[in-house]
Amino acid sequence: MFKKMWAFLVLIGAASVSAHLQDLSFDRQKVFRVIPQNDEQVEILNFLARIMEVDFWQPDSVTLVRPKMQVDFRVEAEKSFDVEDLLKESGMEYQVLIDNLQAAMDAQFDSKVRTTSHSYEKYNNWDTIAAWTADIAAQNPDLVSRSVIGETYEGRSMYLLKIGKSGQDKKAIFIDCGFHAREWISPAFCQWFVKEVSKLNDEKLFLLFSKQAVETYGKDTVMTNLLDKLDFYVLPVVNIDGYIYTWTNDRMWRKTRSKNAGSICYGTDPNRNFNAGWCTLGASKSPCASTYCGSAPESEKETKALADFIREHLSTIKAYLTIHSYSQLLLFPYSYTYDLPSNYQELNSIASAASKQLASLYNTKYTYGPGAETIYPAAGGSDDWAYNQGIKYSFTFELRDTGRYGFLLPESQIKPTCEETLLAVKYIANYVLEHLY
């Protein structure tokens, strides 16, 4: 047995000089299913894993393999013949589960061709985003689930994604995007966040991103641990009607699209519509104004749906992040008053550290501080409201840039913006995990 193994080793050694598992293509890669009967056969699998890159689909790692267990693993195209020879030689029960992984994937993706396909590096319209929420949940059933938290003024379903491995008594972080219709980079970030979080947990289901996945799997233990202990609620677009309006009518629209009684002007500013010092400062009582606070707090179906959800899950939501653009700011309460929150020092140091993390990637400079003095006083914001509900860690992000492109941030900046912001969000999530209350 061992003589054969040594010869095998030499063979593999020669081949692996040129090949490495970071090819983007899965052409002719095979997935094997084996059932090792005894310790000796388990040892053969250990040997394989030592001498070449073996991607274990089940169990997650070779160290978990036991006799009589069904084991699935993927190997590179060039190695698959040698692997098959070795399996035959060893007498181990095996079958080729997938003969050509690339072909199998192509078949899967072809069936999902849409007129506009989703891209994480482009701005996606609402229909595409809506379809994506269904897809991402279907692709990651153990990790991502989709629910509807309410309807917009124009009757559209507000989709919420819950991400996290199942567990008891898990706390959660709530992240929303797309409050203001024209801030397109915001929903783009929520989509990116969901992708990153799902990918890192279970990279085998995201083979399309294999280059990055293989590089990061196991290295990003931070994210993997986060998902074990925390759930993330992600609302990719709060103001769906407004977002659609920026695609079809007016790229600079900000508010919702609700009709205002007795006025020809439409819409309420959703981030002036919460019950936090409502309509006292930095908001307008005129329906035609961009910062119109609405006829009453939570007058908008969208804000009411969000607030209802948070109220219903108050015991589990430990942090609230709301994503906007532009200005490159990281804000925390309060905006409706110049008074400081009771844990101001703590929030300030979190913001400081998170901003540093963000800047570490591309040197993008963020300013941080309490809303009123850092940007401007403005009442009725969701961050202040969430904070007053008892969610101690409440932040507003204003993403890139500082005015050169403003709302019209080029698509080429989506990836870097999302990557750097993710660092800050991860930092905050980790901090929250270490300071649960």
């Binding site: 482009k122 701005y123 920026t246 695609w247 790229r251 600079m252 900000r254 500013d269 307008s284 104004a289 961009s290 910062t291 401007y376 005015g403 050169r404 492109y405 403003g406 709302f407 019209l408 941030l409 080029p410 698509e411 080429s412 900046q413």
Partner: protein
Amino acid sequence: DIDDVGHKYYLELELEDVLDKDRTVSCTAEVLYQLGSKTSAPDVQVTVQGELRSTEEADQEFYNRIRSLEKELVAENIPDSHGNVPPELEPIHLLAWVASGYVIWQNSSENTKFHLAQVKHVKQVKRSDEDLQFDYVVLLHDMVSQEVLPWQVTLLWHPQRGARVSQCHGPGGT
């Protein structure tokens, strides 16, 4: 604070060349906001310490290109909804920044903050003299009120003489 006059600010600035990120130039400025004056623009004095990069060649090229157009240039939505600017319109975009800068200056106080959000429309107007003329409709984003409002600005430009605003018109008036 200057009694009976207004508020004066002394600034040290670093200018970054948008087209050449590694290039910076220092400058100092004095800005005087006059007391109680809602209608006059702040006084600004700027001193540039160092040299601004020469753009003579590119300027001349652009000038010649526009002058030789058979039909007057017309364009809209710069950048487009997705943040794109076609390369040949980049100089038009940059001139729009100049034009907006003037409008913003004329409408600034200590409590305002404006940015150019988008060039909604631009039309070249052929002239009998040597200047290029561009009639712009620019959208300015007012950070305080969050309004994005159109302003009409006419910009004259010449490679040696530089840029001048000859007219500007705000939403519903001046």
